[in-house]
Symmetry: C2
Subunit: 333 residues, 2 copies
C-alpha cells in the first residue's frame, strides 16, 4: 500500500502558516508516514522558504506528486493579486487566498483523494475583509461539507479535550450550558471517537463548572442542575463517564492517562492545562466532518511572519503534531 | 546558628493530616533543614503511626525538643474527648482539636518561637460542628493574627499563582472583579513578596478572564474595563506587570519561568494548570500574615484516613512541598 496523501493548507499566506507547513512537510518523520502536499499559492511558499531547503514543485493535480526529500510538493492554488501580498498583516487577498486553499483541500478530502487535512492558521480579520461569512475555520469547514453540526476538540501528546462551549465571554458560559447541549455534544463525539477507531468504548471524564465541582452546591449549582442530569441520561444511553469532576482533579487524572478524553465546559478549562503541559504542541481537531481535520492550535503569528528572522525562528512542532493526529484519525497511523 | 523550629499542625485528627505530618517530619530532608514539631493531640499521632517508625515524644513546650531521627516530636495539645474520635469522618471533636492546634501554632509563630507554620488539612464540616465561625483555615488565621486582609496563593515546584477570587461560583466571578480589588490585592502581595525576600522587584503576569483575553473586546470586555485600568494604576505605582494575558499563553510562559508569579482571576484558572503540572505537590500559601504559613493543597482525604491501608498509601509529597515553601518564605532556606 502506498503512503496516503495528507493535505496541508498554508492558511493565511501573510501569516506563519506557509513556512510551518513547508517545514512540517519536509520532515523525515512526516514523509515516512505519508505523502504530504501543501495546498496554497506556490509563489508564497517559494518566497518564504530559504533557498537551501527543498525545491518547490507546483502541482496542478496530485498525479504530478514527486516523491523526493529534495522536493516540496505544493498543489498550486493561484490568487491573481498574490504579488501585492504584504507579509504580517490581515488583508483581503490573504483571506481570499486562504479560503481558496481550504475549498481545494476539502474537495480533495470529500473525493477521498487525500486521507486527511491539516489546515494552517487563518486570520478572522482577513476572512472578514474577504467578505466570507464564517466566524472561523471550523464553521467554514462544516458549511463546505454540508454538515450541520461539528464539535471542537483540542489535543496534545495523547491528551484530548472536548470544548462544550467555545469562543464566548466567560460570563456567558453558565447560561450557555444546557442538559440537551451537553447530551448531544458528548454523544456526537462519542460516536465519532468510535468511527475514527480511537476507542471501542471511550472512557469520558466530564469537568464541573465551579471550584470543587460546586462542593455539593455550596459553590454553585450547575453541576447538580445541568451536568449530573445530562450524565445520567448519557449513561442510560450506554456511555462510560465519570463526572461532574472538580476540574483540577480531572486534569490531574487525565494527564495520568485515566480517560480517553475529557469534556471541558469552557475554552480555558481545556486550553490552560494543555498549553501548560505542552506549550508548543496543542492541536485543534474537528469532530463530525466526513474526514479527519486538524490544525495547529495557534494563530497566524503575524509578528513572526513579518520578518525573515521571525520566520526562521518559527517552530513547526504544533503543525507536526496536527499532522500526527490527522493521520491517526484517518486510521493510517 | 541552630536549625529553626517548624510547626506542623496535624489538622483534622480524623483526617489524613496526622500521618502525613508524621511522615514529613520524619524525612531526612526536612530534619536537615529545620527542627520539625508536630502540633496536635499526641495520642492521635501515636495511633496512626506504624510502630516501626520513630517514637512519638510528647512535648509540653519546645524546650523539651529532642533532636534524634528516632524521635517524633509532638507538641501535645490534648483534647478531653479524643478517645471517642472516629477516623475518616467529620465530627465536633475533630474540629475542636484541629482549632486548638492551630491556636497553639499561631501563638508560637507570633512569639517567633517557630520560624513558620505548615497547617494540616481541616474539614469545613468539622469546624462547623465545633461551632467555629470561620469559612476555613485562611479566615481563621487572619482572625487569630488580628489581620484584616490576607490573600491566597497556590504554588508547586517554583510556580506561584495568586487567586484574585477564591471559593465562589464561576457565575459570580465577573461581577466580583473590580479595579480596586485587583489593585489592592496585587499591591499587597507585591509588598509581601519583597518582605519575604522572594524577589526585589517581582515580575507579574496577570491573566485575563475571557478566551484570548477577550480578543480586543470580541469575547468579553472585562479585560479593557477592569483588568487593564488596574494594571495601568499598578504600573504607575512602580510595579512590573504584563497583562491582561490570554490565560493559556500566560501559563505556558509561567511554566517556562517567565514570571515571579501569575495573578489568576478565579480558582480553577490557577488550580487546573498547577494540578496538571504537579498533581501531588500543590501548596496553599497565605500572604499578609505576620509569619510564613503554608498548607498542602488537598483536603482531609477521609476515605484514605479511615483505614490503616489507606493511611499507609498516603503520599506526603504536598506536605513536604508545603514545608519547603514555609522555610523559603521564613527566609531560612
Amino acid at each position: 500500500m502506498s503512503r496516503p496523501f495528507l493535505a496541508i493548507t498554508i492558511g493565511d499566506p501573510a501569516g506563519i502558516g506557509p513556512v510551518l507547513g513547508a517545514r512540517a512537510a519536509g520532515s523525515a518523520e512526516l514523509r515516512g508516514a505519508c505523502r504530504p502536499v501543501l495546498v496554497g499559492d506556490a509563489s508564497v511558499v517559494r518566497s518564504v522558504c530559504p533557498s537551501r531547503a527543498a525545491r518547490v514543485h507546483p502541482l496542478a493535480d496530485l498525479d504530478e506528486y514527486r516523491d523526493s526529500p529534495r522536493i516540496l510538493n505544493v498543489l498550486h492554488v493561484p490568487h491573481p493579486d498574490i504579488r501585492r501580498l504584504r507579509m504580517g498583516r490581515p488583508q483581503r487577498t490573504g483571506g481570499e487566498s486562504a479560503a481558496l486553499a481550504i475549498r481545494t483541500a476539502v474537495a480533495l478530502a470529500l473525493q477521498r483523494r487525500v486521507a486527511a487535512v491539516v489546515t494552517g492558521p487563518v486570520s478572522k480579520g482577513s476572512l472578514r475583509m474577504a467578505g466570507l461569512p464564517y466566524a472561523g475555520h471550523t464553521e467554514m469547514l462544516a458549511a463546505l461539507c454540508g454538515v450541520r453540526r461539528v464539535e471542537m476538540l483540542m489535543a496534545a501528546d495523547r491528551l484530548m479535550a472536548l470544548l462544550v462551549t467555545r469562543h464566548i465571554p466567560l460570563s456567558k458560559v453558565p447560561a450557555s450550558l444546557s442538559m440537551s447541549r451537553l447530551f448531544s455534544t458528548i454523544r456526537l463525539v462519542d460516536r465519532w471517537l468510535k468511527e475514527r477507531g480511537l476507542a471501542a468504548r471511550p472512557r469520558w471524564g466530564v469537568c464541573g463548572l465551579n471550584p470543587h465541582a460546586g462542593d455539593g452546591g455550596l459553590l454553585g449549582r450547575e453541576e447538580e442542575r445541568v451536568v449530573a442530569p445530562a450524565l445520567r441520561k448519557l449513561r442510560s444511553a450506554g456511555l462510560s463517564l465519570e463526572g461532574p469532576l472538580p476540574a483540577d482533579a480531572a486534569w490531574a487524572a487525565h494527564a495520568g492517562g485515566h480517560y480517553t478524553l475529557l469534556a471541558c465546559l469552557y475554552h480555558d478549562q481545556a486550553m490552560v492545562p494543555l498549553k501548560s503541559l505542552f506549550p508548543r504542541r496543542v492541536v485543534n481537531i474537528t469532530a463530525g466532518l466526513p474526514f479527519a481535520r486538524t490544525s495547529p492550535g495557534h494563530g497566524t503569528a503575524y509578528d513572526l511572519a513579518a520578518t525573515a528572522r521571525g520566520r526562521a525562528l518559527a517552530d513547526p512542532a504544533a503543525t507536526l503534531e496536527a499532522a500526527r493526529w490527522a493521520l491517526r484519525l484517518a486510521r493510517t497511523l
